[in-house]
């Protein structure tokens, strides 16, 4: 009896948290999305979302988020693999994580300096004979800086799952005559796929709604759904349209979560 009572007491903070910071905000976003700019209830915002402007924006958000995730993965997986083989792996891991302690805005401003016309990157290009290029405010700089920011979040889960991998399994594969590539393809990668999945999730989902970098690094030449939400809330004060975009982002994110999880059940 007492046990049940204490268990219910323990539930209170959790339930309160879920109610106040998950259910209520989402309900509010949904509620606001049904109001047009003059405060009338309507489906105007949803109609507007299915116009070429916003569909195009959704497409480009997807494209950039995909690029950022794919490049992060390509760099992070070998890096994590290498880290697990080093002697002081926790130290090396720490060195990769340290930059994520620095404020994002500060890092973005640093990159404006590095990528600028007279910045370090361009002086280097000049020295090696390629000559001055526009780097800042291009797709390249946007993807580069985003990858730089997201890579610790991709490495960490992959590193953890690689670290937990039982080394005797690899020995077994070797003993049974599997080549290094086959071992990787048939043993290591399938056993760390969960780390890859969660790495991709924590990269792709925030990358979909990046906004500050689109202005600071891409000079508003890249417009994502996040940029549009920011503008609708802060400048236009069209909370309805901003909320509608947020609703679609939530739907997209839920779909992605579901898709990556059902596959897991099939394995």
């Amino acid at each position: 009896m007492e046990n049940k009572l204490t268990r219910n007491l323990y539930k209170i903070p959790y339930l309160l948290w879920i109610l106040l910071f998950v259910i209520v905000p989402i309900a509010l976003v949904l509620y606001y999305s049904f109001f047009d700019i003059e405060g009338h209830v309507s489906l105007e915002n949803y109609r507007k979302f299915f116009t070429p402007v916003y569909l195009q924006m959704t497409l480009s958000s997807f494209w950039y988020a995909f690029l950022i995730t794919a490049i992060s993965l390509i760099i992070a997986y070998p890096a994590a693999l290498l880290l697990t083989k080093t002697k002081h792996k926790q130290l090396w891991l720490l060195l990769i994580i340290v930059p994520s302690w620095i404020n994002l805005l500060l890092k973005a401003y640093a990159f404006i300096g590095i990528f600028g016309t007279y910045g370090m990157a361009n002086s280097f290009l000049k020295v090696i004979g390629i000559g001055q290029r526009q780097i800042l405010f291009t797709d390249f700089s946007f993807v580069f800086v985003s990858v730089y920011i997201f890579i610790p979040f991709m490495i960490l889960p992959i590193f953890n799952s690689l670290n937990e991998l039982n080394p005797t399994l690899i020995d077994a594969a070797n003993d049974l005559g599997a080549s290094k590539w086959t071992t990787f393809r048939r043993v290591i990668f399938p056993l760390t796929i969960d780390g890859v999945k969660s790495g991709c999730q924590v990269t792709f989902i925030p990358a979909l709604s990046l906004f500050m970098l689109t202005r600071l690094i891409a000079g508003n030449r890249v417009i994502t759904l996040g940029t549009a939400i920011e503008q609708h809330f802060l400048v236009t004060q069209d909370w309805g349209m901003g909320s509608t975009i947020a609703v679609f982002l939530i739907i997209i994110m839920v779909l992605i979560m579901l898709l990556t999880n059902t596959r897991k059940r099939g394995v």
Binding site: E38, V53, G116, L136, F137, A218, G219, N220, Q231, M241
Partner: protein, 357 residues
Amino acid sequence: MNKLVRFFLIIAVSSAVILYAISSLNTSRGYSGGNTLTVYNWGDYIDEDLIKQFEKETGIKVIYETFDSNEAMMTKIEQGGTNYDIAVPSEYMIDKMRQEDLLIPLDHSKLPNLKNIDPRFMDLPFDPENKYSVPYFWGTVGIVYNPKMLHGKKITSWNDLWDPDLKNQILLIDGAREVMGMGLNSLGYSLNDTNRKHLLEAKAKLDRLTPNVKAIVGDEIKMLMANEEASIGLVWSGDASEIMYENENLDYVVPKEGSNLWFDNMVIPKTAKNIDAAHQFINFMLDPKVAAQNTDYVGYSTPNKQALRFLDKEVVKDERFYPSPELTKKLEVYENLGKRNLAAYNELFLQFKMHRK
């Protein structure tokens, strides 16, 4: 467990010590109860010596706080946590704040120095008869450019920016009214135009500017222009004077077709506790000598006609910052177009941003 308790204890004790230090510092400097005045202004937008002078003359202690956007300022005043006695919003915000009932009417009998303001800048559409506000500084929207990088090419008109030679040379400020206004002005329309056809025409014209646009940025534009990252920038005159202070190669022009005229204004918000002191402060800032000293420090254009006598002749004659009467006639103040029209401006601006080269 013990460690955890100690951890929280240390935090609690140090917070208490800091709190005590703050309150004792405040009392030692005389900030107590009724004789304080809280001023809420843009960052680096007043000569701090003038605050000391005001404190000495009146015995009122000034608490000075800053904000970096009109929207942030309005939100804080709406919430009402701090008793701001003076705020300095831009003109389009005054209309909004008045509608939301956030302003206290001014008592003109307590502001004898109001007569010093140039009549041109009194009784403007955003605040008829200056019932709620007194202009603090004013300025324009225009083009800051780098003659060295343009090889002597002169910029005098909005349409000069569409020159195909200027590929990737232009930085725009990230503001829907400013950029759409440029499009409208370049076609000879008013920047308060709400005719759908004219707006679409302006947006189509802006799309053709895209190859020349390097980026659309915020406050970073000051740093980028001063670092010669681009040769042309669409900026407010206030930013232009700061950029030109940083890099003397640059020049500023208000395009001949006309442009925007903006004002920052002193108001007394609803949160005010010391309304009498607030009037004293406004009147003090309107004193010609004080206004001149402040203008000297801030570098923006003063609306105080009597203050012009105390300023450098060169500054006052500089048509870039004190435009000639003919040009001034072509300058327009942003009108509050209503939510629906503003949304249309923002929507078109968003589409312009998405237009790729």
